[in-house]
Amino acid sequence: MATNDLKLLGGWFSPFACRVQIALSIKGLDYENIVENLNSKSDLLLQSNPTYKKIPVLIHGDKTICESAIIVQYIDEVWKNNATSSILPSNAYAKAIARFWVSYIDDKFFNSLRYGLFAQDDESKKKYFDELEEVLLKLEEVFNKLSEGKGFFGGEKIGFIDIALGCYLSWLKVKEKFTGTKMFDEAKNPGLVKWAEAFSAHPAVKGILPETDKLVEYAIAMAQGLAAAATAAPK
């Protein structure tokens, strides 16, 4: 029973829904987890997010909040509990830096990963995955700077950037299976390799990221659906 009157409209396959789950887990909050079928969206989803009709949506009492990065900040602000469970830094400049990198991840990282995974031709795939490599080099630099040797982008504890990037780890494992190359190059991204292990093992994260095999099946079905739509749809 959800004592905080919290519902999450999400899906196990969605990295964005995972972000919210991780944030709720960090704060130790109970919630009702409603898994949406994106091919047949519930009335509740369509009413709660009429603008985008997307997951995740957090329903807190009579309030609905959309967009994963916004939801995570909402959770952090409402449940201010104590310093050990804060997700964003308390310093305004550090907050701005965290927000900047989350925005970068949602733009550059997300787009190169998803366009690469579902590109219909090899040339496009290579272009996007090359871009992804550049992005990872940048994020390795950011990790080294912000972690100050302590293990996470947030320092000693997982923070906003860790959650924003970490939610994609299962999808990066899908890329590993699809392409046969490791998700992080150990020579170029040694920091991210260690970070990924630490993140996945973190108590607040355990059990939330989907299993690779299950996600691979889901990704294959998605790719087939996209390919069929591409050949069927007139220009």
Partner: protein, 225 residues
């Protein structure tokens, strides 16, 4: 070296709606700053140093600490200088303000840019105009008070300076109508109130030079097709 002197700099360009957002907030809060007018065709070393990731304006520099991305900058300014707040204090209304500011960037600014660039491709252009109109309708439905921020302008109003000032310029240049008083009476009235706000009025760029720059760019787009 102890000093009460805050060093506040805004690297920008008068023609940018994103820079304008930051300009308005700084003036609203009465913050003194140095404006560095960047020539975007020949970016300064300073700009490249402070925003190596995107190499874009605006870049806000506070005591030599740079911040990029206009909405990130706006939140930073609001958290650092508390007078005349542009974000609500309760988390739910803050989440809504963030949602709508992002919506303006993702749906309205993006569609307008596509409208401009799809000149020459009628079908593509029609699709982009439709997207723009759909997004404006959503915003029209959302507007409940004098401003998105209530009685006073807030972050959503400031983010929407693009709609109030730049979109009409784009409409005049392309001959396309997206925001009209007939189609969107609330949004149109909002734009007039917003542009007449004492701070906004003084801090939007002069229209004629802006029009000339954008027209020249548009003509070059047409010529290249």
């Amino acid at each position: 070296m102890a000093t009460n002197q805050e060093e506040v700099k805004l690297l920008g360009s008068v023609k940018s709606p994103f820079v304008c957002r930051v300009h308005i907030v700084l003036k609203l809060k009465g913050i003194e700053f140095e404006f560095v007018d960047e020539n975007l065709a020949n970016k300064s070393d300073q700009l490249l140093k402070y925003n190596p990731v995107y190499k874009k304006v605006p870049v806000f520099v506070h005591n030599d600490k740079p911040i990029s991305e206009s909405l990130v900058i706006l939140e930073y300014i609001d958290e650092t200088w508390k007078q005349n707040p542009i974000l609500p204090s309760d988390p739910y209304h803050r989440a809504l303000a963030r949602f709508w500011s992002k919506f303006i960037d993702d749906k309205i600014v993006a569609a307008s840019v596509k409208v401009v660039h799809s000149v020459g491709d009628e079908k593509e252009r029609e699709k982009n105009v439709e997207e723009s109109i759909e997004a404006l309708q959503i915003l029209e439905n959302e507007l409940k008070d004098k401003f998105f921020g209530g009685e006073e302008i807030g972050i959503v109003d400031i983010a929407a300076v693009f709609i109030a000032f730049w979109l009409p310029v784009i409409q005049d240049i392309t001959g396309l109508k997206m925001l009209t008083a007939e189609k969107f009476p609330k949004l149109y009235n909002w734009s007039q109130e917003f542009l007449n706000h004492p701070i906004v009025k003084e801090n939007i760029p002069p229209r004629d030079p802006l029009f000339a720059i954008y027209k020249a760019y548009y003509d070059s787009l047409i010529a290249s097709k």
